[in-house]
């Protein structure tokens, strides 16, 4: 027996039905998902307590539900494996949970509707069941800080209170961090309701420490800075008396003391320096041990060995002076305390300087709106932007920031997108247009539906891309990595031989000289400066690029971009706007109409046409504020043009072929049209009442700043090549306008990458002839990222001209989110500035070590009698890495030559 689908009316076999539903004692069968979804939408679960979730037994008799049962209904957004294939599995799993009464999966909305007995099962159980088969339950997660949470037993009360708040999936309170973590459904509850739940127990909620990684990191840095500064001040406080006893000859009260009294004082400083070593300098010793277990050694090892050796020698010397030659039993506790103080201070300063280098990311994140005015169930509410869901309708008023990405559903406005696209004029937006989060609504109010939220928004993607690039590696860092892999053990070996040589051939007292020089070697060596050199500059440089709308994908791209020698520019959309515009209106000498009238008539006809060139004419007329007329008898003649009647006149618009077909004498107009074509324009003849009346010409016009950008590229010594599929005449015309001499015209889209390859090999051959071991000739390609993707990938550096939203253009090494060619110049300048900075850092760090270590070994002693004090070595080491970070921060002052 067949059944009729109640939605579409189709006859179906119950066995082969897509789904079935029990409703009011009847069984319904459905042919498809959309039918069942429609049915479900019309017949919601009969909620026992009206709209509420309370679950009181107030069920209407018509629904057929047992009124004694305390049923609760909940909607859970689910995500994970494709719902379509797994919906039965999901339904069955949930039905198996004791207390679950009914389950519906709404595929189109991605929602799971569950009706359950709140007395038998709670939401957390349901969520657990959904998760157990690999699905995730959507919803928001929020952390709320709780002030003065001290009693451990209150934790449970607050947790229970939160859990019993409607819409809360799970809640945990952490007494250590004084924070509640709540998973909840933003449709059902708001942050203020959660706060209210906490307040019922007499606690004051506060915004939790931000979850944004940047803020978290900043907070961790601030904590670490305080920790280091505490250690520094302690070490400094101890250093003062230790220094006084070490240089007793120069201190009035100590000068006169006997050796024995001094020895007692030294013993006291020995004890004083112990906490300096094991508290202020604890990181060095624990770090050394941890590294040692892994058969590796690092900066910690050097400091720990240096200070440790100084302390042990000193202690041995004052305990057993008889073992030492007269006058050599003096201690070096000052080295221990002062070096640790200085190195800890260096670390603290380095940390502070590092904080500044992430400012670019902070600026980007600062663009994000904090709240959104969401309309749910007809009610407007201000929600934190994190709570906005895909599909929410959001109201935006003039002057407000657009919180997330979406599509306008009501109203229109002008939106300032300059922060993302660089377009200085506000873009006009109407219903159906896309809006981007973080841009600013200027004039009108509108409503839009969120399409991308959280980490999917254009802004979040930009931030992610910049962060990834900042943490990537430039090839140049590999050298530093290789060196630093061997660095520390080599320094240790050098320290050993410094000791041996001073001991064997040094002047009296050998033991003291040997010990001091080898300790100095250990302390002055600084692998950190070498390791920091590249990543710090890369971080600042890539961040600086992002500030100017240039997204550099990796350190490698940045390094290659520095050496760009040839830039290949795609014509359409890169040099030009990529959209035809009306450029000329020519009126025939024989015609009586004026040019405005001619354009008005042409535009009236083209208003009906769908041709892209027609759009240009129409916009041209609108820009001149011309009133368009009614059109009759419109006819498109394929390959020729259009004809129509306007205000009683017959209008013909089209090419030479059309004019010839209609036997219209063009006269001097034909010559004019050739001139226009030579100029790279597309001319169209207009005939009125069978007589030639004039020409309108449209062209893909050059972006205002293209010529300037190309001129700057030339001045940087870069060869500029234009590539296009257009005919040579049009291409040459554009090239002349922007000052490009080398043009590759009539190149099929698929051949663009071959042309780039040809340029690469050509230059490579010439380059090898010129400098056999010289630098590579880097060819960059600038294009739109979609049609030009193969060419972008083929080039050594591919620069994609983006439009603000599509930042993750795979083929490109660099994305220019501001559609201007100036970005190419700025990208090259940023990479040059960053690479120069990296070289400065590397060379500086390298020479610091290459000069510092031999001086510490005493190389200058035989000639000048100069030896380096270990205290000065400690200061030098501490500030070498601060210098590297400081130098990298100089890049923050980078300014592009053309704005």
């Amino acid at each position: 027996m067949t059944q009729r689908d109640p939605v579409c009316g189709m006859e179906i076999e119950p066995q082969s039905a897509f789904a079935k539903r029990e409703h009011m004692g009847q069984t319904f069968y459905f042919c498809s998902q959309s039918c069942v979804d429609q049915f479900d939408a019309l017949t919601p679960f009969p909620s026992p307590s009206g709209r509420g979730e309370g679950g009181e037994g107030m069920t209407s008799a018509t629904t057929g539900f047992n009124p004694q049962m305390t049923l609760t209904r909940i909607e859970l957004p689910v995500s994970g494996p494709p719902l379509k294939e797994h919906s039965t599995h999901l339904e069955e799993t949930l039905r198996a949970v004791d207390g679950v009464d009914e389950v519906k999966v709404n595929l189109t909305a991605g929602r799971l509707e569950v009706q359950y007995d709140a007395g038998k099962v709670d939401v957390a159980r349901l969520v657990g069941a959904v998760k157990s088969i690999g699905f995730q339950v959507g919803g928001a997660n929020v952390k709320i800080g709780i002030e003065n949470l001290r009693c451990a037993s209150c934790v449970k009360f607050i947790e229970d209170e939160l859990k019993s708040t409607q819409g809360v999936l799970n809640a945990t309170v952490n007494i250590a961090t004084q924070e509640a973590t709540v998973d909840y459904l933003p449709q059902k509850t708001t942050l203020s309701q959660l706060n209210a739940a906490i307040e019922t127990w007499g606690y004051k909620p506060r915004p939790a420490t931000s979850d944004a990684p940047v803020d978290k990191q900043e907070e961790a840095h601030a904590r670490e800075y305080r920790r280091l500064m505490n250690k520094f001040w302690f070490a400094t406080a101890v250093s003062l008396p230790v220094l006084a006893t070490a240089y007793y000859q120069f201190v009035p009260f100590l000068r006169g003391l006997s050796m024995d009294t001094l020895r007692v004082l030294w013993g006291l400083t020995a004890l004083l320096t112990l906490p300096v070593m094991f508290w202020s300098g604890s990181d060095f010793f624990t770090g050394t041990w941890a590294a040692f277990k892994h058969r590796s050694a690092n900066m910690n090892t050097l400091i720990a060995l240096g200070t440790g050796a100084a302390w042990l020698y000193s202690t041995f010397a004052i305990l057993f002076p008889s073992f030492f030659p007269e006058g050599t039993s003096e201690p070096f506790y000052d080295v221990v305390a002062v070096v640790i103080a200085l190195v800890v201070l260096g670390q603290a300063l380095e940390l502070r300087a590092k904080g500044q280098s992430s400012s670019a990311i902070k600026k980007l994140l600062g663009l994000q709106a904090k709240t959104a005015r969401v309309i749910r169930d007809g009610e407007e509410m201000d929600l934190p932007v994190e709570e906005v869901l895909v599909g929410d309708v959001i109201q935006v008023r003039p002057g407000e920031k657009i919180p997330v990405d979406g599509v306008i559903v009501e109203g229109s406005s002008a939106v300032d997108e300059s922060m993302l696209t660089g377009e200085s004029l506000p873009a006009s937006k109407k219903q159906g247009d896309e809006v981007i989060g973080a841009t600013i609504n200027k004039t009108g109010a509108f409503k839009f539906r969120a399409t991308k939220v959280g980490k999917d928004t254009a802004l979040a993607q930009i931030v992610k891309m910049v962060q990834d690039a900042q943490n990537s590696k430039a090839p140049i860092a590999r050298l530093a990595d290789t060196i630093s892999g061997y660095f520390v053990p080599i320094v240790m070996i050098l320290a050993v031989w410094t000791f041996v040589i001073w001991f064997v051939v040094g002047p009296q007292p050998q033991l003291v000289y040997a010990l001091v020089t080898s300790v100095t070697v250990l302390i002055i060596a600084c692998p950190c400066a070498l390791g920091l050199a590249t990543p710090m500059s890369l971080m600042v440089g890539i961040g600086k690029g992002a500030e100017h709308g240039i997204l550099i994908r990796s350190g490698e791209a940045l390094q290659t971009a520095r050496a760009i020698r040839t830039v290949v520019l795609d014509k359409t959309g890169t040099i030009t706007k990529g959209k035809p515009e009306l450029t000329d209106v020519v009126v025939s000498d024989q015609s009586s109409v004026i040019s405005e009238e001619l354009l008005r008539l042409a535009a009236s006809v083209e208003k009906v046409s769908e041709h892209p060139l027609a759009q240009a004419i129409l916009e041209g007329a609108q820009a001149r504020k011309l009133e368009l007329a009614e059109v009759k008898d419109f006819e498109a003649i394929p390959g020729h043009g259009v004809s129509a009647m306007v205000e009683g006149r017959s209008v013909l618009i089209g090419n030479l072929k059309l004019m010839n077909r209609e036997r219209i004498t063009l006269g001097p107009l034909e010559e004019r049209s050739k001139l226009l074509a030579d100029d790279g324009k597309t001319p169209m003849f207009i005939a009125l009442d069978g007589k030639a009346a004039g020409i309108v010409a449209v062209a893909d016009t050059v972006k205002e700043d293209s010529a300037e950008a190309i001129k700057t590229l030339h001045s940087l010594g870069i060869e500029v090549v234009m590539i296009t599929g257009d005919n040579r005449r049009t291409a040459e015309a554009i090239a002349k306008k922007v000052g490009i001499s080398k043009v590759l015209a009539e190149v099929l889209p698929e051949d663009k990458s071959n042309e780039v390859k040809k340029l690469q090999t050509e230059h490579a051959a010439r380059n090898i002839a010129k400098h056999p071991r010289g630098t590579q000739h880097v060819v960059a390609m600038v294009g739109d990222g979609i049609n030009d993707a193969p060419a972008l990938a083929q080039a050594d550096v591919g620069l994609a001209i983006g439009t603000g939203t599509d930042v993750a253009i795979e083929a490109s090494d660099i994305t220019l989110i501001k559609g201007s060619l100036k970005g190419v110049v700025t990208a090259i300048e940023v990479s040059r500035a960053t690479m120069t900075n990296i070289y400065q850092n590397l060379v500086g760090a390298f020479f610091y070590n290459v000069l510092g270590i031999p001086i510490a070994m005493g190389m200058l002693f035989p000639f000048l009698g100069l030896l380096l004090s270990p205290l000065i070595a400690g200061a030098a080491m501490a500030f070498s890495s601060v210098t590297v970070v400081g130098n990298a921060n100089r890049l923050r002052g980078f300014k592009p030559t053309i704005q």
Binding site: A291, A297, L351, Y486, V496, C528
Partner: protein, 154 residues
């Protein structure tokens, strides 16, 4: 301080006689100590080179879990434990880092060859997941390369 320490040659000779008296012949007394120092230097050099460069490192082989991923937990404290990790190619690798120190050095872990990186807040578990599809040895490290580990893909 040691710049100021001016010793007399005589004092040193007397001292060496009294404490280290090995022979009456001064000419032979000094070289013995010196030879000892040189020999110690050679031994130490060999020890350092062997320990840090030539001795084989312990490797941690990662078992494949039921879900098909190769999971390993790594503690970050002065170094990565374990620091040499052997995985199979073509299977997802799930590395869970827990940083147990506040030193800012180790706040990030980078896998430059896989373009993976993560911020490691102190005490929090942070998971990195990717699939190595080419055999080889890939380093991982903190931002400035003080802590290092190696991922060996077989």
């Amino acid at each position: 301080m040691f710049f100021a320490a001016k010793q007399s040659l005589v004092a040193w000779e007397i001292a060496s006689h009294s404490t280290l008296a090995m022979t009456n012949d001064k000419e032979h007394n000094m070289p013995n100590l010196q030879i000892f120092a040189i020999l110690s230097g050679i031994v130490l050099t060999i020890l350092i080179a062997w320990y840090f460069w030539f001795a084989p490192k312990a490797q941690t082989r990662v078992a494949v879990s039921e879900s098909g991923a190769q999971e390993v937990a790594i503690t970050v404290k002065g170094g990565y434990t374990p620091d040499v990790i052997v995985v199979q190619k073509g299977r997802p690798v799930r590395l869970t880092f827990t940083r147990q120190e506040s030193s800012a050095c180790s706040e990030k872990v980078l896998f430059p060859d896989f373009n993976q990186n993560a911020l490691l807040p102190e005490g929090e578990q942070v998971t990195l997941e990717f699939t190595p599809d080419k055999a080889g040895e890939y380093g991982f490290q903190c931002q400035m390369g003080m802590l290092r580990g190696k991922l060996i893909v077989e």
